[in-house]
Amino acid sequence: NKKKNKKELERIDKSHPDHIFPLVLTSATQELFGCRADEDVTGDDPYRLLKKEDIIQDMKTRAAISDFSPIKQDYPEDEILLVFDRDFTYGQSFYLVLTVDAKESMLRSPAEVDGEEEEEGESEDLSEIMVQKTPEPQAWVSLGSEREIEDESLMDTRPKLCYKVSRLRRETGAPLHFSDYSTECVECSPYQDSSFSTRRMERASGVQAVPVTSSSSSQTVWKHKRNMWTQYQPRVLDEEEKENILLSKNLKNFLNSVTLRVEVAIQQNIIMNMFVDDWRDLAEEVPVLGGKANTQLKKYQSFTDLNHSKNKTISYINWHPAVSGVIAVAVRERLSYEERIDSSTKLLLNPALILFWSFSDPINPQLMLECPDDVFCFEFCPSDPNIIAGGCMNGQVVLWDISAHMERLQGARLFEDEVTDTPVVRYCAVSGIENGHKAPVTDIQWLPDTFEVSLELISSSVPVKTVCVMFWDLRAPRVVSQSQIDRKQKTEEKILDNPHGVPNTFKHLNLTWKPLIRVQTHIHTHTHTHKQTQTFLDGEIVYTDWKLEKDNESGRLFSPKPTHCFRVHDGLVNTVLRSPFFKDIILSVGLWNFAIWKEGVTNGPILQSPYSQKNCTLGFWSLTRPAVFFIGKEDGNLEIWDLLEKTHEPSQTHTITTAPITCIKPWVISVKQQLLAVSEHLGTLHILEVPRRLLHPSSKELNVSMYFEKEVERLIYFEKRQEMRAKEKREMDAEEQRRKMVGDSFTLDGYTYTVV
């Protein structure tokens, strides 16, 4: 029995874990312990807790025949678990669980599902601690499955044999001999081989479980279309709630804690502007490095009229403000005063003209305006480019109206085939000789509508040693000044008829035109909009204000005396011009040098150029670059001054012609193109193209204003220094005096006194 038991034990031990002890319980034992198979214990309820006491009792009473005799281990608890093993998993019908842990786990596992929630609550902490570990790879334990794979797989039992069959080499290419072979011919006729028609009853094939997918669609029927909308509104707190929150301590704490962070961030942003794109800023410098083509003035076109501008000089140029590509030049005789008188009869026959040139036709001018006398200067009216005002050599102011010829000017390109004569337009109004200037009109300016009277002209002339600036009013005469007009109409005799079909635009002014204000001062040449800066014949520059003031005593209107007077240029000042970019920077060009002034700075010019060897005839600011201006010279050179580059010499010098330059006018056609019209003394008009470098201002160019400010400061500083010097000198002189006195001594009453 024991032997058998041992064998059983050995056999059993192999296939069950240590804590399980399979047992055979006889029916007697089963009845004793109340665990009869299929009665007390069933497949569903296989667990029975037996008292250890009872088992020990049984072992004692029945000794060898006790079923529990093989158990030799000691069990710590009082109750031991007996499991009814219905399926004989461990070889016997019952088994004992020998360890406490195994018992616990076995008892708990079927109740797991029920008691899961309760246990979860208790073991939550445990689960937190338990960290999920990836299962560690373990060695593969063979359970016999590889045999099947081996049976199914195909493997070579021997290496494959390889045969190569080829013809004898000597037979390659040898002629072929065909002969009959009928006797030993084997017929191969088709026959039905049954092996191909056997039906396979069994076939081994692989199967894979795959979810069956099918795509289908459905559509709901949208029967009733209806417009729907929702309207919403943001949630807002009441005032009270807001107040409460604002006063709450929480908010205060929050703000205190958060403010620091936010301030740091704000300051970071202020310190460095992070929106600066360094790459793009760098790129701006590139165009400047272009080659020569970018920096030189290129010749575009030149106009000369053989009939009209031969032996004549161009006195003034103006681009047509409305029509692009049309330029007007005033042509006048190149004669000195005496020569004029000599040939006055001849001059009367050839009227003076203003020629209109268009780029499409370099030989024939488009339009010619007839003038009573040589025109020194003329201007297009800024509000109506059909009106042109000109000032003549004899002091008259002339008006033309070219509205009839506008299409011709604009559509000049269309009429290339037609060779029509250039139309001549006669002036439609001219000022009366008595009321006009007594000397050649040197400058005309249209006033903007800032004064009470509109459409005014200022004309100014330079008779010898006196200067006259006149304001002209172009409107129809008002009722107020009726009396004046009446008087004028009486004296009016020579009313020009309208030959040549001149428009009647200004007929009411014809010859009755009287200037509104006349200012007689000892100066002048150039004028511009209301704050007048006038230049002296001898080179002084005077600054006056044109506002009329009422003289309290006599009630008459008069213009104030000039406020400042400077002597900077040594010769005739021929240009005074405001910068188009800075309203208070003025360029003045004299005979030998030029100067830049700032309005309001009364100490002197901000910049004074060095004396040049050749006379400067003209100056003009560039229209696109704030720091660039052109100076025309007597020898036909055009100097381009760039204040940002050099201030002691021009940055570029171009030789245009050999004759002195009489007028420079730039014109912006487009962003990429700018033309410079330069006229010379010999009567030719040159059009040059401005290089790209001078077209676009660099981004920092407006800093030239900073340069001006610096210069202003310099002037102020100089003045202060001069004052200081003067003061010091005075002090030093006083000191000297005193010292001299101090050295004196005199004697009196036997004592010697010294002055201290």
């Binding site: 943001p234 707190l237 807001k242 929150i245 908010l251 704000i266 942003n269 992070m274």
Partner: protein, 88 residues
């Protein structure tokens, strides 16, 4: 609010935990828009930070755009939004 006096600050808004503006220096419609949008974004940003590392929390959110910069300082219960234009 002394933050408003800093250079370039366009507006300041204090928002509560639900995204309702409490105090503002901008007009009502702008305030409501900013509050709603930025509140959601801040919540998203905060949850992103905490997903990556639960010990971490969002302290500051800065959104830089072409025109200006929006700075959001979150807290447990409130949100401070500052809009600044630094290039002035």
């Amino acid at each position: 609010m002394s933050i408003q006096t800093h250079k370039g600050v366009i507006g300041t808004i204090v928002v509560n935990a639900e995204g309702i503006p409490i105090r503002t220096t901008l007009d009502n419609s702008t305030t409501v828009q900013y509050a709603g949008l930025l509140h959601q974004l801040t919540m998203k940003a905060r949850s992103t930070v905490r997903d990556i590392d639960p010990q971490n929390d969002l302290t500051f959110l800065r959104i830089r755009s072409k025109k200006h910069e929006i700075m959001v300082a979150p807290d447990k219960e409130y949100l401070l939004i500052v809009i600044q234009n630094p290039s002035e």
